[in-house]
Symmetry: C2
Subunit: 162 residues, 2 copies
DNA sequence: AAATATACGTCAGTATTGTTGACATATTAC
DNA sequence: GTAATATGTCAACAATACTGACGTATATTT
């Protein structure tokens, strides 16, 4: 006799498949971040520092408030991490020319070097997975990931590369 | 003239694509976990409680050490959260019959109810993304996610559903 | 020019989740 | 009987997040 009847949720998809997706996200994310965390620990930085370094590197001249929105954390939470990175010269703040209230964030050479160290490992991991899976799988991966995130985050990707 | 020459990494993949993947992971995971966190906060539980509830629900009778390996945290970290869930009757511990040292973990009805509350939202999110993306995209998503995680985690999926 | 809004910083207190390290107990394996 | 294993527990600490309140500089509005 069959193992058991597949449970079909109201969406018409098998419950098992949906649960598997939850776990794919959990394990992929857990392992994806683990190595960078280890590197960071050596400099007594944490994952939060990594994220700041990453997004400042990605968007040179980003404002503090834009960074806050990306990270989805509070000003006070960011302040501790960002303050550290600025004091230790990983990040440089430049007063905005158009709007003098803004503090535009840039990586220093030191910051860029750390950023490279951290993401090299992650990029290699992605590259291996992409090569193994093949281009059409990558396209599917992108579609599903975009579908999972909120609308706000989604159009961050729509304006690029597509 | 063209925007700029695409940077090709040593893997033969465009650097931009690899960076985009990093961000897809970040935003999808961030938004995926956000709602459940909100529900949990109302019961003064956190994400750690969710993960324990989830994996015990997924693997009834799981041992403490197996759970520790899945979660990738220390015994002491788990103890606080698990102890709470046991004291408040979300999880039941049964002494192992084969090995009397083991404490096999099970959800109670109360625990199952909380589990359902938490994952209903997440399953709906996945279901919507899957439906939108289509079956072949889902297959690609699975391939890439499996490629991203470590080998240990990967064969957790190989024995099921495939 | 004065009032208001915005961008950013900072202080203080608290919760959650994770870590190390050390030690205790029950049970199984040799 | 001794050693290994599965689990629990105490204590101290660090990272990351939160809320709430207040301060300062600059822009915008009236």
């Amino acid at each position: 006799m069959p193992n058991s009847k597949p449970v079909i949720s109201s969406s018409g998809l098998r419950d098992e498949d949906l649960r598997q997706a939850i776990e794919l996200l959990f394990f992929a994310y857990r392992d994806f971040t683990a190595r960078a965390d280890a590197i960071l620990a050596k400099q007594s930085f944490g994952r939060a520092h990594h994220r700041v370094i990453y997004f400042v590197g990605r968007h040179p001249g980003i404002t503090v408030s834009a960074l806050l929105e990306i990270l989805g954390i509070t000003k006070q939470s960011l302040a501790r991490v960002l303050g550290q990175l600025v004091r230790e010269h990983y990040i440089l703040q430049k007063k905005g020319t158009q709007d003098g209230r803004q503090r535009l964030l840039h990586l220093t050479d030191k910051g860029r070097e750390l950023e490279r160290m951290l993401t090299t490992e992650q990029r290699a991991r992605i590259a291996a997975a992409y090569k193994d899976a093949g281009p059409s799988a990558v396209e599917g991966f992108r579609k599903v990931m975009l579908g999972i995130m909120n609308d706000d985050a989604r159009w961050r990707f729509k304006t690029r590369g597509d």
